[in-house]
């Protein structure tokens, strides 16, 4: 119907309609509407505390909103009443966090193999094979037997991504995955995510990496105070936004030299 070349193959994989959520007295989400299509890279940007991470947690049923409709890969998440049903959903939706959160007592390989074999009941040999392939993909083959404590932040985060992928998720959520990293290791993590998006993995990113978001996203939304202020193509959000608040935010973050260094590293 529209000019977009992908229209005929596009099916919504995530849809949020008028989602409201509060923690106690604090209203975090005040009516969020989002549609994310299969195979898309979707970035959520905005100031801290604007509800970005909470949106991801709603999609993954880690938190339950008070009202609104959430549909993820055919499942009405808002209608799930039992924890066991939410667990079934989480197995299909990968999530990677800012703090990597690898299991420190397991080797890199065991971190990746644990959930597919113990939680999904996948075959051990096949999963180990898959894990080694994923480690190769994130360029950490030689670290299979290392423990997380022996890796740098960037390496741990790449393992965390491989661990999420080992569950063969239908989409992956990235929650500020480079925010805890030093500037030099950000590039290696973004490189992995960029690859993943090129392979067609539906990815939803909450990020402060403006240049990266601009480069890889199909759609970008800007959130503030629990609302979506604007959404559009990266071009629209980063360059032609009418809203002065967005222009201020984007201009303030992407102007520095850090972005340039990362860009050079990433490509």
């Amino acid at each position: 119907m529209t000019a977009s070349p992908e229209t005929e193959t596009n099916t919504a994989i995530v849809k949020l309609e008028d989602v409201h959520l509060s923690f106690g007295q604090t209203q975090v989400l005040k009516g969020i509407d989002l549609t994310i299509y299969k195979g898309d890279a979707f970035s959520i940007i905005g100031p801290s505390g604007s509800g970005k991470s909470t949106i991801l947690r709603c999609i993954n049923a880690l938190v339950t909103p008070q009202s609104g409709k959430i549909t993820v890969a055919g499942t009405r998440v808002d209608q799930l009443t039992k924890e066991s049903e939410r667990i079934q959903l989480r197995k299909r939706v990968g999530i990677v966090f800012q703090q990597y959160n690898l299991f420190p007592h397991l080797t890199v390989l065991d971190n990746i193999v644990l959930a597919p074999t113990k939680i999904l009941g996948a075959d051990k040999t096949a999963t180990v094979k898959l894990a080694r392939e994923l480690l190769e993909k994130v360029r950490l083959s030689e670290k299979a037997d290392a423990y997380p404590g022996q890796l740098s932040g960037g390496q741990q985060q790449r393992v965390a991504i491989a661990r999420a992928l080992a569950m063969k998720p239908e989409l992956v959520l990235f929650d500020e995955v480079t925010s805890a990293l030093d500037p030099e290791t950000v590039g290696e993590v973004l490189w992995v995510i960029r690859d993943l998006i090129r392979d067609g993995m539906t990815s939803i990113l909450v990020t402060h990496e403006m240049r990266f978001a601009e480069e890889i996203s199909d759609t970008v939304v800007f959130t503030e105070n629990g609302r979506i202020v604007d959404h559009g193509s990266p071009q629209q959000i980063f360059h032609t936004a009418d809203n002065p608040r967005i222009r201020q935010f984007v201009g303030g973050l992407s102007g520095g030299g850090r972005g340039a260094v990362r860009d050079g590293e990433g490509i």
Binding site: Q99, N101, Y147
Partner: protein
């Protein structure tokens, strides 16, 4: 006969030092004493795993968000921690055991022996100590790591089984070893209800022979040796489970 000679040689040598081990040459008292060692070792061997398994279950209950699980265990832990083991044992044996006897129609039908009550009381007492130590370890697991596991589809039980307990066990290991050392010593309360462990057996012998010092030396050496082994095994496990690059 070789054995006999060694025993008499030992008695002879000790006599020169002024120590009276003559009872070793008798059949009956020597037998009681030897059985006492075995009973103590048997008590320790049975009570240690009981305390560890129950301690783990208690810790899981204490940290569960279900009040019907955590409240009774919390009550039990407080009660056990704050009252003397000897009193608990007497209460269990004189009251609970009698109740059981009445329920099954007489003491002759009661399958629960004094040995059982020592294992139960000491085991659960130390389990309460383990539980507190493990609970501390479970609560020290960062909430972000638990959220990550939830995000991957782990159930609360699976998070406990694969993430919290492996980490909590490591961090609480020094406290657990302390608990086990105190468990070994606590098995001596069995003498109060006539479980013929080594202190009971020693008392039997020295009331006849008046050789308290002689038996005390062996008694102290025996418990020191058991606890030396417990501590060594503990630090071996600690080394084996140490996580490279992690502060545990």
């Amino acid at each position: 006969m070789q054995d006999m000679n060694l025993t008499s040689l030992f008695i002879e040598l000790m006599a020169r030092l002024g120590l009276n081990y003559e009872f070793l040459a008798t059949g009956y008292e020597a037998q009681i004493w030897r059985d006492g060692f075995l009973t103590t070792l048997y008590l320790v061997a049975v009570t240690i795993p009981v305390s560890l398994i129950v301690g783990l279950i208690f810790a899981a209950c204490l940290t569960s968000n279900r009040p019907w699980l955590s409240a009774p265990v919390r009550g039990f832990v407080e009660l056990t921690r704050n009252t003397p083991t000897l009193v608990q044992l007497m209460f269990s044996f004189l009251v609970l055991n009698t109740v059981v006897s009445n329920m099954v129609g007489g003491a002759q039908n009661n399958p629960l022996s004094p040995f059982f009550w020592v294992v139960a009381v000491v085991g659960l007492h130390v389990a309460a100590l383990h539980a507190e130590a493990i609970r501390g370890g479970i609560e020290a697991v960062p909430s972000s790591m638990i959220e990550a596991a939830r995000g991957m589809g782990f159930s609360p039980f699976e998070i406990m089984r694969y993430v919290q307990i492996p980490l909590a066990f490591r961090s609480s290991l020094p406290a657990i070893v302390n608990g086990l050392i105190s468990l070994v010593k606590s098995t001596t309360v069995g003498n109060a209800i006539a479980v013929s462990e080594i202190t009971y057996a020693s008392i039997m012998v020295w009331t006849q022979r008046d050789n308290v010092v002689e038996l005390m030396i062996v008694l102290l050496a025996f418990f020191s040796l058991i606890n030396f082994v417990v501590a060594r095994v503990g630090s071996w496990v600690e080394r084996r489970l140490a996580i490279p690059g992690y502060g545990l």
